[in-house]
Symmetry: C2
Subunit: 665 residues, 2 copies
């Protein structure tokens, strides 16, 4: 298991170099940069936009099409009442401190983490140990610069205590974080003082819907609620059959307190969420679990974390469910499917782990939750959540609105229920109790089966019963025999009604996209050896552009050939780009290695004569030469995944002409 961020080839990851390349090639760019930018808001340029679209395309095929999920597209603007009911108005918050001296607003958990990590680092230095240089964000650096952490040695016990706190940092509430700040005297290095006690800050963006400003609303913090609210219609669309899943791809919003860490912590982001509705009875089995049971995942469970450790184990999902580490088959099935998806798009297999949420960390709605975390230069980053939301959401919305968010299922065998039933003689009951009638009735109907059995006995023996009714007389009410019957009766239920449970795989597309860029980045020495050149080795499926077409020079003869090639590729659904700029072929290939374009075609003077073209592989820089049809067929098989470059190299003649030319320029 890898523990530090590296490039695809195992080199130490130089994040500033990667970042500068990603911005130069316009994968992404700070939004509103000419106005000074806004923290946590980014725009995607053409390659980022295309990479995102390709990831979404794979996602849709892997999940929605593969399992006939019902995709919906719901409103982002959401009225207050919906999010009040879902619990987000009251509970969707982070803990925020203010620096009393310089007014800086600080996210409490990040602050505690940062200062303790910095002390541990100082301790290591004092002990003369090698310190891993984790790349820091600029603001952190600024803080450091002002309040440099001395190399101070700590007691062994203190080191262990800090490490335990860090292992469960996500488990603390605001009060506890406040106590940690006091206990360890954590000061903001920028001001030299302790920040104020943490207060809850709700992360939803608020707005008002309509001209009279009387309908407060929010930008949704997740796409899930729209899916829950449409549950009954979706069930009907699915002709009443359960289990089924809905899915949604769309933006959500979180007003992060102090977003740093680039694309990893943003205020506006694309999510892809699945809500899989399942019968809670029968242990949440999944019919296709056998297809994935042997897939091995790296798991970091709750117990390990609470004991202050971060030890992981690699285990098949079948065993993890059998051993009760993962609660049920459906949750396990989706964890394995998430793993396969991440693999398919090119995430480094040695940089994925699934971490279970601790009790306090879990969202207010979740019964269990495992995050797929990806290792980046920012550490382990939650990229996909896989939560069991139980019946929470459907229940609260049903209760609030009266809408029947339930499944009605014809029973294969009618259910025979034998129960103590209460029947009131309405004609006499009302007049007898007058204004207290409703209250007494409610109290009687609220009795349990056990109470009813005893009451039936009393009624039989004494000819009346005494029931406790708060607020009527002295709190005890006598009901004579002629007003009430309590009997054991049998009834037959043909229909079963239940609220389904929800398993929710939830994907942060931007985080996955960023991790993917780190995992596929590496540098190679240029032929002259003077500078390292960046390469993004995306799998062809997700690469922003599949083929670069370069004419050898600006000779007019090449233009129609290039155009014809791009038209042919377009017809096959393969994206290409012609680079007929005046840069050398070598520079043009370099540019496209940085853009992650897997294949390159060169059109030269020989092409004009015999219609052969060369095909270059981004990762090996090897080239083959053949006629147009063979090259196009090779491209098609590499792009659709049926062949790899080594197959192409084995089948078509190697070409070495231009590489030499590139090297000599």
């Amino acid at each position: 298991m890898t523990t530090t961020a590296t490039t695809l080839k195992g080199q130490p990851l130089d994040r500033p170099a990667l970042d500068s390349m990603l911005r130069r090639r316009m994968f992404y760019t700070p939004a509103f940069e000419i106005y000074g930018g806004v923290a946590g808001l980014y725009d995607y340029g053409p390659p980022g936009c295309s990479l995102q679209a390709n990831i979404i395309d794979v996602w849709r095929k892997h999940f929605v099409l593969e399992e006939d999920m019902l995709e919906v597209d719901c409103s982002v603007l959401t009225p207050h009442e919906v999010l009040k009911t879902s619990g987000h108005v009251d509970k969707f918050a982070d803990w925020m401190c203010k620096d009393p001296k310089n007014g800086e607003i600080i996210r409490a958990d990040h602050f505690v983490e940062e200062i303790l990590e910095s002390r541990l680092k100082g301790d290591k230095e004092a002990r003369g140990q090698k310190v891993e240089e984790k790349e820091e964000d600029p603001k952190k650096k600024k803080r450091k610069a002002k309040g440099v952490q001395e190399a101070v040695k700590l007691d062994d016990a203190v080191v262990q205590e800090y490490e335990e706190v860090l292992a469960k940092i996500d488990n603390y509430n605001g009060e506890e974080l406040g106590e940690l700040i006091k206990k360890y005297d954590l000061k903001n290095p920028a001001s030299g003082v302790q920040p104020s006690p943490p207060v809850a800050f709700n992360l939803m963006f608020q707005t008002a819907i309509g001209p009279s400003s009387n309908l407060p609303g929010y930008l949704r913090p997740e796409t899930a609620q729209g899916q829950f609210l449409n549950f009954s219609k979706l069930l009907e669309f699915n002709q009443g059959q359960v289990p089924f899943a809905s899915a949604s791809i769309g933006r959500s919003y979180r007003n992060e307190i102090s977003p740093r860490a680039g694309l990893l912590r943003v205020r506006e982001f694309l999510m892809a969420e699945i809500e899989h509705f399942v019968d809670p009875e029968g242990g949440k089995k999944h019919p296709r679990f056998h297809e994935v049971k042997d897939i091995e995942l790296v798991l970091l469970n709750r117990t390990t974390q609470l004991s202050g450790k971060t030890h992981v184990e690699k285990i098949s999902i079948g065993k993890a469910v059998a051993d009760g580490i993962v609660d049920n088959e459906t949750l396990g099935y989706f964890m394995a499917r998430i793993h396969l998806f991440l693999k398919k798009i090119g995430v480094d297999q040695s940089k994925i782990r699934f971490r279970q949420h601790m009790a306090n960390e879990m969202a207010h709605y979740a019964a269990d939750c495992w995050d797929a975390e990806l290792l980046t230069s920012y550490g382990w980053v939650e990229c996909v959540g896989c939560a069991d939301r139980s019946a929470y959401d459907l229940s609260v919305h049903a209760k609030r609105t009266g809408a029947p968010l339930i499944v009605r299922e014809q029973r294969a065998e009618p259910l025979v229920v034998e129960e103590w039933e209460v029947e009131l003689n309405k004609k006499k009951f009302g007049p007898h109790f007058k204004k207290d009638g409703k209250t007494v009735e409610a109290a009687v109907l609220a009795t349990t089966q056990e109470q009813r059995e005893a009451l039936a006995k009393d009624l039989n023996e004494k000819g009346s019963i005494t029931v406790e009714v708060a607020g009527v007389g002295d709190g005890k009410v006598e009901i004579p025999k002629d007003l009430i019957t309590i009997e054991r009766r049998t009834r037959t239920e043909h229909v079963r009604e239940y609220t389904p449970n929800v398993i929710e795989p939830s994907f942060g597309i931007g985080r996955i996209l960023y991790a993917l860029m780190e995992h596929n980045f590496w540098t190679r020495a240029s032929e002259g050896g003077d500078e390292a050149r960046g390469v993004l080795s995306f799998p062809p499926t997700v690469a922003p552009t599949k083929v670069l077409i370069v004419p050898l020079s600006s000779n007019e003869q090449f233009r129609p050939i290039c155009y014809k090639l791009s038209q042919r590729l377009r017809k096959l659904g393969i994206s290409s780009r012609i680079d007929d700029s005046s840069a050398t072929i070598g520079k043009r290939y370099s540019r496209n290695d940085e853009l992650g374009t897997p294949l390159g075609i060169t059109v030269d003077f020989q092409t004009v004569q015999d219609s052969t073209i060369t095909l270059r592989d981004r990762d090996t820089t090897k080239q083959v030469r053949a006629d147009e049809d063979k090259i196009i067929a090779a491209i098609q098989s590499v792009v659709d995944g049926s062949k790899e470059w080594k197959d192409v190299e084995a089948e078509l003649p190697i070409f070495e002409g231009q590489e030499i030319e590139v090297a000599t320029r």
Copy 2:
């Protein structure tokens, strides 16, 4: 040219029937319906979501890929300053009235339109003319019910006046709308009183970004601004070459005053926008204009509308540009391309017109604008805007931020400029004028070429000049010869700098989607003749699902065959759905006619024996029968557009078995 809404087969359009079908089949549904809904917010269910994705897919291929546009994905949250600069904070507003009696909030232009149309209708009734029943929205109906319009005959002159007002209704500002309300004594039928004078209501949703609420922001009202702000980076990405276009697909938000009219007036919507950057010199020619010049469009120009008429003419775009009806080739090129796009996705060709904006109607940034309007049961609806935004946006953002949003172009021939130049003797000039130095200098440098020529003459003849400088002395300042030189000089410019103009085709995807549903809807009598059944005859390209797979019955033998067929189709990228519900085949086909699924496969007992399957055409209900390979090949050619159903029918044996069975059930 069609003038009233009809179905695909020319039947009068029954909107309530269509709407109820669209909701039943979950094309769309009011958002938050179980909470009572919010006006102007809708969710798309599975077929609507898929239809939308397919429209977007065609759009991306037709525009972005075809012309190598640079697609970007920008932030929706936008800080105040950006939209202040763009003019949206001050000018992006509708005129709003309030009913002083019942508090109703009314959009002024819609109100005037509604009441005048209602009076004209009353007049027609009084004259005994046939009145076209336009389908009304529920709120309008309510208004009517309370204040029923009597059949009152109007003077001929009044009728003409009303018609002229209606033809240019989009041209009035708030004051003018207020005058119309007074002049014609327009009362809200619901209350019997005139609404208050119109006030401007800004349509942007406001929010605050960050925890300290000190950064006010809005949800973007269009995707365009993000593209403008990234102009310099996009230009660099395009290696400095102009013209080029950026494109963006994403949600935008407008806080409509009183949204009615279903999907046509919503507060949250998907836009697809292109910003084509072009050199303003040389008449905005377009290199591919010749490809489209013979395409005929239906145009309703500004002059016609201002004369109070709605007469249209059909004219080739080549002639329209040559005659100056459409300003330039680039604008004309995109109008033709928009027309082709709408045709490709299945919009009724007889229900498209292009209407030119009138001066007051035009957005604050536009120099010229033509809307592609589609005829629906709500009348003519703006679905695509095609605006010439000139250099407005790039200029204001450059001015505000100092960012160089310009193109620098090496001149093929250096430009030699001969001009009168002013040079000051700084050493003497400052001390001479002391505190007034700067003001005098600015006044001198602001002189025109003509003025300089005269001043040079004075200087030569009199040894000094007199310049008007407001605010200095008596407003006239004398400058002696030793402080200033004015000479005719020659300089050579190698680089040309200019701010490009922007042509912006802007698509409201939801409106197009709705018009498409109306245009492709029709009903056919069922075989028994008892009820009309709805059909949505979408072209295969955009149909939500391409193939329905129905097993004849729930016999277990059919299941693996259906599954295998769906897998085969999936591999070809063709979406299918298996309907193995217990409904009759006829009912299952009906359901899919309503969903717009163009083709249906039936698996029956013969399939088990000889592997032949039947293929049914949605529009004709005709069927053919052949072996699996032939049927799959037929499906593929219909879906990719290389064949039509009549070709399939000509090639494969007709099958009549099941249709009879359907009819007899």
